[in-house]
Amino acid sequence: MQFNSLSDFIAMGDYGAYVWSSVAIVFGALAWIVVDSVMLKSKTLKAIKQEQERAEKIRQAKQQNSV
């Protein structure tokens, strides 16, 4: 450990604001892109399902018209 105390660690030799803000931005952005990528799956599945249902409706409507 390079620091003697927790407050030393947070102060980062007077560069705390710079170091911790970059840590926050990096992990914030990483969290955002991870969550976005994970959520993408259920979004994609729902979009495909909707598209399929729409295609099915169109097919049925066409069939009825032809009858």
Partner: protein, 256 residues
């Protein structure tokens, strides 16, 4: 060579491969990132000139290196997709682009935060910084072109062309510090010589670089898998998959 592979099975196999690799990449990324960050922030020695502000290196260098690595992989995928007409490679272009854009953005932001106290400026129009900014615009251009066309195929092709042409920028970024009088210093580890960083500072850096690499790999798997089922939406295997996945989601909700 690929012809004998059944075209439908190919996408399905790739989809399954993505989810097979995902847990390995995820766990490796969590471990390397956690160990590398804590090591770099708390245990690595401070720099003789820059003191503790130098610890930003553990996030700046990995995002910067991998912003270029991701772009190169994206361009290779685009090339394979264009020349050999392999659909999965074309889809991978769009899977990598957003992650690469985030890395480029992070490299620029952490660089600015580091530059303010050390150099004395958030931003200078120096060749290294400017070419990295151009890389961000290239990523955004690829994403925009991909979505710009009604026909997904046309969009993918336009985006691939931009990705391939833009790869010229990657060596420019790397050599900018040698070709021009830049404020940014030369390469510390990405050179054919002994790294100019002491070993106890280098190890955590290598760990965070590996960490960001695994994050990139894991997210590419996730996003590529989505692109594959979206592209194959009308195929029977995707229909079956959608039924299976959505019913398991509703069942797990009902059981709660």
């Amino acid at each position: 060579m690929w012809k004998w592979l059944h075209p439908y099975a190919k996408a399905e196999v790739a989809y399954q491969l993505c989810y097979k690799l995902l847990p390995y990449f995820s766990w490796l990324s969590v471990i390397t990132l956690a160990v590398g960050s804590v090591w770099g922030l708390a245990f690595a020695p401070a720099d003789y000139q820059q003191g503790d502000s130098f610890r930003i290196i553990y996030f700046h260098v990995p995002t910067a290196i991998l912003s270029m690595g991701a772009y190169t992989s994206m361009a290779i995928c685009a090339l394979i997709g264009m020349v050999w007409q392999i659909r999965n490679a074309e889809l991978a272009v769009y899977a990598i682009a957003p992650v690469g854009a985030v890395y480029t953005f992070l490299a620029l932001v952490t660089g600015a935060i580091w530059g303010k106290p050390m150099w004395g400026a958030w931003w200078v129009w120096d060749a290294r910084l400017t070419s990295e900014l151009i890389l961000l615009f290239l990523y955004l251009g690829v994403i925009a072109l991909y979505n710009a066309f009604e026909d997904r195929r046309t969009g993918a092709r336009a985006a691939s062309i931009l990705a391939i042409v833009g790869v010229i920028n990657v060596p420019i970024i790397h050599y900018s510090v040698e070709w021009w009088n830049t404020l940014h210093q030369g390469a510390t580890i990405t050179k054919f010589a002994k790294p100019s960083i002491s070993t106890d500072m280098l190890w955590p850096l290598l760990l965070t670089i590996a960490g960001f690499m695994f994050v990139l790999a894991a997210l590419t798997c996730l996003r590529l898998a989505n692109q594959i089922i979206l592209n194959d939406a009308r195929r029977p295997w995707v229909k079956a998959l959608v039924e299976r996945e959505l019913s398991s989601v509703s069942m797990s909700k009902a059981s709660k």
